[in-house]
Symmetry: C2
């Protein structure tokens, strides 16, 4: 069991109606609010009007940044920083999913960034940055951005999608009813993202960090149980609530406490897909994950014990033959994603192999994935991409 430091300053307000606390939450920080959101789905479900009503009643001054993209772009960060500076913003209120929250984190930190070019902030090594306070209202169970300090920002000019640390939300309002109208496609993609956050840490060499592994398996079993329910009954509160609860935990780092780091290989490979083709992050992960699993199991069969545990503890598969069990678990996962209705090949997304080598080189920049559970070379990554066609 490895050492760790655990502290997540975010206060989660979980459950139906928690928006009633919004005014008091924001009041801790000030009256000038930058309201950030995406493509307008929050208007369709009436959440925008509800938020504006609360802000008006509370005497807040509101500046808006709308249209934040699904893979949020550096241009939106730049615009947000400009608005914050112009309007002396006290607190950012992000209403949306992980993209809106990610973009808002980079804005919150960008306000204090002294380097000038904000892409330099995205593309440099740093820990948590000085930032404006950020409050969010979550509308999609997926990235876990509501309960971590990281964000992923895209630069379509350079075909780069880079994760980095910025700031934790001060408070996240997680009301599962806001996800009732999320499409089947986004629900399934979001759940694939949640599950991938677990896989990235679960498939680690550490054998003796039991609580982390139990939490990881609990998140996976919860997601596996409730995704089909949410797809069949979009307004099933229990299903939506369980998916939302696990989304926050999955990416929080908690399921990795005490475990050796892995470099998150599927995320590294997926970010290249999104950067080049602007695809839905969770779909890219769902496509990559079973292929990555099969590849590393074949490359280093000594890692099979982890896959056996996955098959037994997550899927409840029984059997004596370790390798057969390991493969059965991967098969079950691939079937699970297929049954959720999302595309499971890159070909279906119109992606061919023309950029695979460039993407592999960037995903593995500086030999980054040499410390993965099973180390990956650029050639390995190209092979995994090809298996996804």
């Amino acid at each position: 069991m490895k050492n760790y430091v655990h502290a997540i300053p975010t206060k989660l307000y979980f459950g139906k109606g928690q928006i009633s606390r919004l005014g008091e939450i924001l009041d801790q920080f000030g009256k000038r609010v930058l309201l950030t959101y995406g493509g307008g789905s929050i208007k369709k479900i009436g959440l925008y009007d509800e938020v504006i009503g609360i802000l008006n009643k509370g005497g807040f001054t509101v500046t808006e940044l709308s249209g934040i993209e699904p893979n949020p772009r550096i241009e939106s960060v730049e615009e947000g920083v400009r608005l914050c500076k112009e309007n002396n913003i006290d607190v950012i209120l992000a209403v949306g999913g992980g993209s809106t929250i990610d973009c808002s984190k980079a804005i919150a930190a960008g306000v204090f960034y002294e380097g000038g070019d904000l892409w330099q902030m995205v593309d440099s090594n740093h820990g948590a940055l000085k930032a404006l306070p950020l409050v969010d209202i979550l509308t999609l169970s997926a990235t876990g951005s509501e309960y971590d300090g990281g964000a992923v920002i895209t630069n379509l000019k350079t075909n780069e999608k880079l994760g980095n640390m910025y700031t934790y939300p001060a408070a996240s309002i997680c009301d599962p009813t806001y996800t009732f109208t999320v499409s089947k496609y986004q629900t399934a993609a979001g759940t694939a993202d949640i599950m991938s956050h677990i896989f990235e840490g679960y498939f680690s060499a550490t054998e003796d960090s039991d609580l982390s592994d139990h939490i990881a398996e609990g998140v996976l079993k919860t997601a596996i149980k409730y995704l089909p329910v949410a797809l069949a009954e979009p307004d099933n509160y229990t299903a939506r609530a369980n998916l939302m609860a696990v989304s926050s935990v999955a990416c929080s780092g908690i399921p990795e406490y005490g475990k050796q780091g892995t470099g998150w290989p599927c995320h590294a490979m997926e970010h290249e897909l999104s950067a080049f083709y602007d695809i839905t992050h969770g779909v890219g992960l769902a496509i990559l994950t079973p292929r990555w699993m099969r590849f590393i199991l074949k490359k280093d069969p000594s890692c099979a014990w982890r896959f056996v545990r996955f098959a037994q503890n997550v899927w409840g598969i029984e059997g004596e033959d370790g390798l057969a069990l390991a493969n059965a678990g991967i098969d079950r996962l691939e079937s699970f994603f297929k049954e959720s209705g999302i595309p499971m090949t890159l070909t279906e997304l119109g992606i061919g192999e023309e950029h695979f080598e460039e993407m592999a080189a960037h995903a593995n920049f500086g030999g980054y994935l040499k410390n993965a559970f099973v180390p990956l070379t650029n050639e390995d990554i190209v092979e995994i991409y090809k298996a996804c066609l």
Copy 2:
């Protein structure tokens, strides 16, 4: 799934050697430190000298409060408050187990308490209080006081042992090596305490808060796996680390998020035992728990589903007959405690039935346990006590 608010401000520094961060942690708060500890075991293991060395090197001024009792008493709280006021203490450093940390929490809040009589603070309804910052170094995996805001203080004059909310530690240093010398008796009692914290929330009417239940089962399975290892090999790092990791989570509230409250019936009943007889808390819990389980299962067989889940998911017991499964799970738990070597009857502790009615009335003051998983009357509690003889 019920609503919840999640925020634990404590920063956990987990693992071997984390004491190297002590100076920088304390420096955030000031230079005048009240060092609190218990009966001197920290001197035997060299931890006292190490702490004093760090404090001297860092230029801290140290006032000491030693001799804090296993069930910490109001007199120690009073003495600590007096020392803080006299010496203008900036930060309390508690080195020990739950008793030392609990007492230190009450001291930290007592410094600002304006009611005069500190027992009134203990015996009144309040949430978190204004308090001095508290840092702790944990030496016993048991109460989880290192990662919650509560404390239990005893008044031997009135035979009362009352839990209340005070303040969260700002930081907890959790180094499993400090528990290598913990006796078999205290190791087993501490693990019973950890497991009881889970039982109190696990046996709830809520059926659909899956993540909480998975975390609860993960804590139990980890404790069950590693207690025998720690008893057989006291300096097994993996065993001690896993027990320490689950101790913090078990009492944090996290395993109860989304679940209906239960009133923590075993703790309510045990606090009476400790208040009247000053016994080891975890031993009292180990004695009470299987008897309480059998009693409620008999009183209301409709609650059997929870016990079936417990038998299957925690102990891996298989079978078709629900009631047989439920009982088998309870039997396994009782055997587990017995095998750990702690006394499993009140008679062994020299406790007879003379105060049972008074204790039951106090444990159930105002019908407190009418909202338990299976509601308990005073007569029920007397019957449970008698089953423990």
